[in-house]
Amino acid sequence: MRGSFLRRRLLSSLTAVLGVSVLVFLLVHLIPGDPVDNLLGERADPIDKLEMRRCMDLDQSLVVQFGRFIKNVGNGTLGRTCPDQRRTVTSLIAEALPSTIALAGAAMFVALIFALPLGVAAALRPRSALDAGATIISLAGISMPSMWLGPLLLAIFYVGLQWLPGPADQAGLPGLILPAFMLGTHLMAMLARMTRSSLLEVLGEDYVRTARAKGLSSTVVVLRHALRNALVPVITVAGIQFGSLLAGAVVTEKVFARPGIGTLLLEAISQRDYRVVQGCTLVIAVSYVTVNLLVDLAYGLADPRIRVQ
């Protein structure tokens, strides 16, 4: 049974990666109008247009274009940048990615470290003032647009209180705090709500009542019996959301002027460097699929029922 679960899950991830590659390749063709006109503008110099066409392989048939695209993905370079061909797309992404992963990791840490206590406290005292407070915090976190929260955090903690470094000084851990809060708040609110409802559900289960009935202390019942089961779906969602954090980093990196894959993507968009846009999109989407696969496999290992379904 385990082998077939693994095979099925791997197969569906592979189809997703293949589909993503085709879609990213087609992106330039899907949009109405001539791609080069779209990129350079209709009144651009014909020589520039010709060069762009050649650089992007648009002078070839669609099949040849796709073949070259797959070849570039296969050999790991993702092609050379266009119009100026000095670097491979992979080298640009490799430079940018560590900073984005650090940001996403810090945001995940912030989300979990606040969401779990908030959700647990709310679930242990439902309909109390504590629960109401936690609900208000989560609703505010879900509703606040991150591109508003980020600048507000900067205005308060950097300009006003001067406790934390701003966009000019992003090195080291202190520089990561505000961006991590900007990126992680939405996820924190989501996870806090999930923790609350998941724990409330588990606390009503028979085995929790049994544990209480045999005289275990409240702490042991909650920590050993209830929380362990309640957290499984929460951790799964957190894992799946890691990919969304990579994509959400685009906005955070813009607000804090941080280097990273989002900044690279936005620069490529403004310079109309199509290959880099394709490359960044592909890398983020494929990491997302991979993380989802790993989370699913881990979930399958933890909970045998999943493997059978």
């Binding site: 569906s12 189809t15 997703a16 990666v17 589909g19 993503v20 879609l23 990213v24 992106l27 330039v28 899907l30 949009i31 109008g33 006109d37 779209n38 990129l39 503008g41 439902p126 609703l139 505010a140 879900i142 509703s143 606040m144 647009p145 991150s146 591109m147 508003w148 600048p151 507000l152 900067l154 205005a155 300009v159 409802s197 409330l200 559900e201 990919g243 969304s244 990579l246 994509a247 959400g248 685009v250 906005v251 813009k254 607000v255 993507l265 936005l266 968009i269 199509y274 846009v277 999109t281 983020i284 989407a285 494929v286 997302y288 699929v289």
Partner: protein, 275 residues
């Protein structure tokens, strides 16, 4: 009044109030706006709120309140269109996948998997960025292209349950065609969770559209809420009112959707409301 609160709950009622205010602003706001959205008053740049300009002016001397009201119409128009399109496409595709099953289901769900593999605003951003001076139409297209998949998944899950129910089998036994069964018997019984999804989806579209305008891709009007926020944050060090107005506006609408969505979900799924 107390009866109404008891039945609907204070959260959803508050959410409904917020959303009503938003749609009213979108509907009649532009007529009530004291100035045109792009009318500049160069003698009054970056002014704080006053009697003449209730929410102040921006760096071009435009009235922030007027921009906000026009922006509400833009946000409501785009979001309603996108949610309606996604709801229609997603329900149709999900119902077909769930009802027919087999290879039809397999093909559709693989396509859904591919679109779900683009996290967050990634695909929307790539599409809007590729089109030169992308306007409202491109925004709607970009937000719809992967927006429907969530609805399709919910619809499919519902249809899988409903298609085995007795009334569907009865219709089948009476010789009704699959399309008639889907339209008349299956879809009406799957709508509740889809409406809940649409309520949360509306908030999502407002946020994504604002994020795209904030990032400066596409060419929506200068008074779109995302653009106003982006402009406001540029001047945050000098004056706060520019960033506060659009930020509060976006947060209010998203909060309203979440409260109403929670209320509807509890109502359609009574098990949840006990918690």
């Amino acid at each position: 009044m107390r009866r109404f609160f008891g039945k609907v709950g204070i959260g959803p009622t508050f959410g409904l109030l917020l959303l009503t205010a938003f749609f009213l602003a979108a509907l009649v706001g532009p007529w009530l706006a004291p100035y045109g959205p792009e009318a500049q008053n160069l003698g009054h740049l970056l002014e704080k709120p006053s009697h003449a300009h209730l929410l102040g002016t921006d760096e071009n001397g435009c009235d922030v309140l007027s921009q906000l009201l026009w922006g509400a119409r833009l946000a409501a128009g785009i979001s309603l269109t996108v949610v309606a399109l996604c709801l229609a496409i997603g329900t149709a595709v999900g119902t077909i996948a769930g009802y027919f099953g087999g290879w039809v289901d397999e093909v559709i769900m693989r396509a859904v998997d591919v679109l779900l593999a683009f996290p967050g605003i990634l695909l929307n951003l790539a599409i809007v960025a590729m089109v030169p001076s992308a306007g409202v139409g491109v925004f709607v297209f970009a937000l719809t292209i992967n927006g429907w998949v969530g609805y399709a998944r919910v619809a499919r899950g519902q249809v899988l349950q409903v298609r085995e129910r007795e009334f569907v089998q009865a219709a089948r036994a009476l010789g009704a065609s699959p399309w008639r069964i889907m339209l008349r018997h299956v879809v009406p019984n799957t709508l509740s969770p889809l409406i809940v999804q649409a309520t949360f989806g509306f908030a999502g579209v407002i946020l994504v559209e604002a994020s795209l305008s904030f990032l400066g891709v596409g060419r929506l009007h200068n008074y779109s809420w995302g653009s106003l926020l982006s402009q406001g944050t540029t001047y945050l060090w000098r004056t706060q009112h520019l960033a506060m107005a659009p930020g509060i506006a976006i947060a209010t609408v998203v909060l309203g959707c979440n409260l109403v969505g929670d209320g509807l979900r509890d109502r359609f799924d009574p098990r949840r409301s006990i918690r």
